[in-house]
């Protein structure tokens, strides 16, 4: 405050600030209050400019999809689109299920099921990964948990999935076994509406 440097129009009687006093004056109060209001106003105005980039209402509208799997046979996979992402539906062969079941949890890089149907800390056993009640089916978001590429099926050291981007290897239950990916591929909310129809989402 340089009240003593510049001529001021504030009358002396109206609590003119005494430059030597440490008591906050009325003017200090107004300066701080105005400054604080300006900061709040700018932050409030900035928010719409930031928030407009978030997913809009149409993207948020949670769509679920029904997939007919009556034509699928063991060893076949299909890929469907759900919320802009690929979802793998794999009808696993008995050998694949066996291989996944026989894997001890201690061999897994990520021991958590990553299944939206279960608890967030359910262990990554094959039962917790497979579709509810139908262990031959594996339904998961086909996005590598490293940087988002779509892995190739029936490939890699475990004959599960192999991500071509940076070499992540998944087993036949879609669990990360080695490579840079940190997590097992995600199992979305899944339900069988009847024997031949899977509802995703």
């Amino acid at each position: 405050m340089s009240a003593n440097t510049y001529p001021t129009t504030v009358p002396d009687s109206a609590a003119a600030p005494d430059p030597h006093s440490s008591e906050p004056s009325r003017r200090d109060f107004f300066v701080i209050a105005t400054g604080a209001a300006a900061v709040v106003a700018v932050a409030g105005l900035a928010w719409p400019f930031i928030d407009q980039m978030n997913p809009d209402a149409s993207a948020l509208a949670l769509a679920s999809i029904d997939v007919d799997i009556s034509a699928m046979e063991a060893g076949q996979s299909i890929t469907v689109m759900w919320r802009g992402k690929p979802v793998f539906i794999r009808y696993r062969t008995p050998e694949e299920v066996e291989a996944a079941k026989n894997t001890p949890l201690s061999d897994l890089k990520d021991p958590i099921a990553r299944n939206d149907n279960l608890d967030s800390n359910a262990p990554a056993t094959d039962e917790n990964r497979a579709a509810p009640g139908r262990e031959e089916f594996l339904v998961m978001v086909g996005i590598c948990t490293h940087l988002g590429c779509v892995p190739m099926g029936e490939a890699g050291d475990y004959n599960g999935w192999f991500c071509p981007c940076h070499g992540s290897v998944y087993d036949t239950a879609g669990r990360i076994r080695h490579g840079p990916a940190p997590e097992n591929m995600l199992i979305p909310t899944t339900a069988f509406s009847d024997d031949n129809t899977i509802t995703i989402g």
Binding site: L147, C149, P180
Partner: protein, 426 residues
């Protein structure tokens, strides 16, 4: 270096303008009378070349935007329409696409020039930092531009790079959704990338002005690393730098034209002539060549967060060079050890780029890891250490002395050899 102005308005109009808005005076003092060291070589021409490429990119970009449609349903076809139907569209698009590669070739030479001649040292730290900011802005612009044609490489490049942010604990996923405007890369992503791709070049222009301003305050470095001391050490910008820059720009334009007319797709990827498909990742995805060294560093670390940190750190470390380098000697010409390590580093970066383009298998992985380690060792250990253990060669007392003794010794000698002759003192 900012002497008093030598501008003399000659006509009445010039005087009239000069007393109101002295832009002609600023131009005269900056690009005509401005004193530059008399011993600058052609490696100093890349600043001018970069300005030229920036202008080419903005001009071609503005006209391409008149024909391009930033909508994921038609973007790919609108680019093909530019190539086939728009008058000279093929030329403008190839200029723009290859122009980005030319931009990076020039900027890498410009940066290595700076590293060799110690251009980042006091009192030019701010100028160096502005340069690193320009480099980051260029990378962001190039990345977003590459997404616009909406081919397979565009889509998957965008996916992988934006997913880098998902490595951040807690807020990572929110940030990626915010960047995409959805739950995967899609039309909202393309729209905003187009908007920002158009904006960033103008921010680059702004920072370039600051960058040029900074060296007009501190003066340019020169191959001897000895600051100009007298009038005989400097020459006026025009005609000396103007002409030299013009020759270099013409030579660079020929190089550019060679790619443009004979190898227009050599630096691109055939996969990008396939429409983006969110269900299939191409078997081998690689970024554009100019990102390969950084991509190699990303892949070298076998952990998601670790890889992302290493990659960003490899660029952030550049901000600290002025303080990591403990040597008082500016130019590598008088630093026998640094000169060797400089070239090792150049080879290191080129090798990183080479392995960045290879699939992450077998021994490539180990090689990339060793090269990545060396990248950081160079800056974090060798750089500070050299300042203490290196015995610099004697430096000339002035630029004039270095130049004259070079010619006395029959030419062909480097300033270093000239300076090492016995009658000189350090």
């Amino acid at each position: 270096m900012q002497g008093t102005s030598e501008y003399q308005p000659r006509t009445g109009i010039e005087r009239w303008i000069d007393s109101r808005m002295p832009l002609p005076r600023l131009m005269y003092d900056s690009f005509i009378a401005y004193p530059i060291p008399r011993n600058l070589n052609y490696s100093y021409a890349f600043g001018a070349i970069l300005s030229l490429v920036l202008v080419v990119q903005i001009l071609t970009g503005v006209v391409l935007a008149m024909h391009y449609a930033a909508n994921s349903a038609i973007a790919f076809n609108s680019v093909e329409q530019i190539m086939r139907d728009v008058n000279y569209g093929w030329l403008l698009r190839y200029m723009h696409a290859n122009g980005s590669s030319m931009f990076f070739i020039a900027v890498y030479i410009h940066m290595f020039r700076g590293l060799y001649y110690g251009s980042y040292k006091a009192p030019r730290e701010i100028q160096w930092i502005l340069g690193v900011i320009l480099f980051l802005l260029m990378m962001a612009t190039a990345f977003m531009g590459y997404v616009l044609p909406w081919g397979q490489m565009s889509f998957w490049g965008a996916t992988v790079i934006t997913n880098l942010f998902s490595a951040i604990p807690l807020v990572g996923e929110g940030i990626t959704h915010w960047l995409w405007g959805g739950f995967a890369v899609g039309n909202p992503t393309l729209n905003r990338f187009f908007s920002l791709h158009y904006l960033l070049p103008f921010m680059i222009v702004g920072v370039v002005i600051l960058h040029v301003w900074a060296f007009h305050v501190t003066g340019q470095t020169n191959p001897t690393g000895v600051e100009p001391k007298s009038r005989s050490d400097v020459v006026p910008f025009t005609p000396h730098a103007t002409m030299k820059d013009a020759v270099a720009m013409v030579a660079f334009a020929l190089f550019f034209a060679w790619f443009l007319f004979y190898l227009p797709n050599y630096l691109g990827h055939p996969d990008n002539y396939t429409l983006a498909n969110p269900l299939v990742t191409p078997p081998h995805i690689v970024p554009e060549w100019y990102f390969l060294p950084f991509y190699a560093i990303l892949r070298a670390i076998p952990s998601k967060l670790g890889g992302v940190i290493a990659m960003f750190a490899s660029i952030i470390v550049l901000f600290f060079l002025p303080w990591l380098d403990r040597s008082k000697v500016q130019s590598a010409a008088y630093r026998p050890l640094y000169r060797i390590f400089f070239w090792i580093f150049v080879v290191n970066v080129i090798c990183l780029g080479y392995f960045g383009a290879k699939p992450p298998e077998g021994w490539y992985v180990l090689a990339t890891q060793l090269l990545t380690a060396y990248y950081f060792v160079h800056f974090l250990i060798i750089f500070p250490l050299l300042g203490y253990i290196e015995k610099p060669r004697p430096r000339p007392t002035s630029i004039t002395e270095a130049v004259l003794s070079k010619h006395k010794s029959g030419g062909g000698g480097t300033p270093a050899e000239a300076a090492a002759s016995p009658e000189r003192r350090g």
